[in-house]
Symmetry: D2
Subunit: 117 residues, 4 copies
Amino acid sequence: MSNTKHTAKRAAKPQKVPEQSTSCPTKKAHHPERLKSEMIKRLHRIEGQVRGLSKMVEEDVYCDDILHQIMAVDSALGGVKKTLLKAHVEGCVVEQLRSGDAKVIDELMATMTKMMK
Amino acid sequence: MSNTKHTAKRAAKPQKVPEQSTSCPTKKAHHPERLKSEMIKRLHRIEGQVRGLSKMVEEDVYCDDILHQIMAVDSALGGVKKTLLKAHVEGCVVEQLRSGDAKVIDELMATMTKMMK
Amino acid sequence: MSNTKHTAKRAAKPQKVPEQSTSCPTKKAHHPERLKSEMIKRLHRIEGQVRGLSKMVEEDVYCDDILHQIMAVDSALGGVKKTLLKAHVEGCVVEQLRSGDAKVIDELMATMTKMMK
Amino acid sequence: MSNTKHTAKRAAKPQKVPEQSTSCPTKKAHHPERLKSEMIKRLHRIEGQVRGLSKMVEEDVYCDDILHQIMAVDSALGGVKKTLLKAHVEGCVVEQLRSGDAKVIDELMATMTKMMK
């Protein structure tokens, strides 16, 4: 699964930056706990909505109703995406820029360009 | 949960159209089994991806990586949406139009307009 | 220019369907005059907005303001797209389906899938 | 027209930052000439494409062809939007952040959130 891949990739890196495990150059996020738990809560709700979609297909619910429910999931996921992007820009991006690392801008632009497709 | 609502709404209707439970006027979907199981399989995979997202947030995976993974989920969900829309138009919409019910066009246009936002 | 290409392509076809120049199988649109003139009016306004964008760039208007103005143009163009799609589905698509031509559904699905990207 | 409005709004501000008319705090863009002329060229082409759309509607070109041409315009305008956003972030945003003005991040997030809708 993709998260395993990401986790593994990240898990292999810490030795490169041993001391300051909460700063951005380690490429680890460090959001306030409140934000993290809010995002996790929203993702759990979305997970339940996706499970609901499977059930709707299983039970032959009318397609137009399922399409509307898929749009609701899209929208909920879009909300998480915006929240995370905001936290990323306000946190990591600003921080890396201040520490003189301008590469983060290329990374951000690549991500935003992909998002605007 | 939304699917319960939908299921309940639909479950209450069958008595209106007792005989032909597989035709569109009952507002029940009737996709071929192969399509249904393919969509359910894809939705289960998406459910796992969303669960993976929670774990990524939990484990402080770097935001930019999570953003890319959210886009992967968006895209997978978009694929299901297109497949379902296609099945809906080719099945229910064409069928209802042939049986003289033009209201399905208003319904379709409302859904498509919402999708294009 | 792209419109020339389209016009040319269409201009070359009329001889194939000489009699019924206002029906869909000729692949000519035949919207009511009111709808046509409304769409043309909106497109002229959009043309002016795009001309305005060039001027904004020329005069070094602050980028964020130009970005918002581009979004306004996007939205105006999106309005024309929805209006046209609605007219197309309610007119040509329904008509071709009634005359037994189901190929229009493939064409519509290809267009809608591209729109949903 | 909107660009007049924007120009006017900006034109009224210069007295606040009299000396350094090419830096970001004046809220004037200052893109390299090459980028400006490239964007203006692309906007002129888009203006011609929109004019072409009016002609297509006027000449009853088949709707599906017009819809595809509208998508081509969408895509061309999207290209200008991405180019401008990139120039904005790499130029003004980075510059304002370095000069200690963090408000530009709120402005950027508001714009990006609107773009992602």
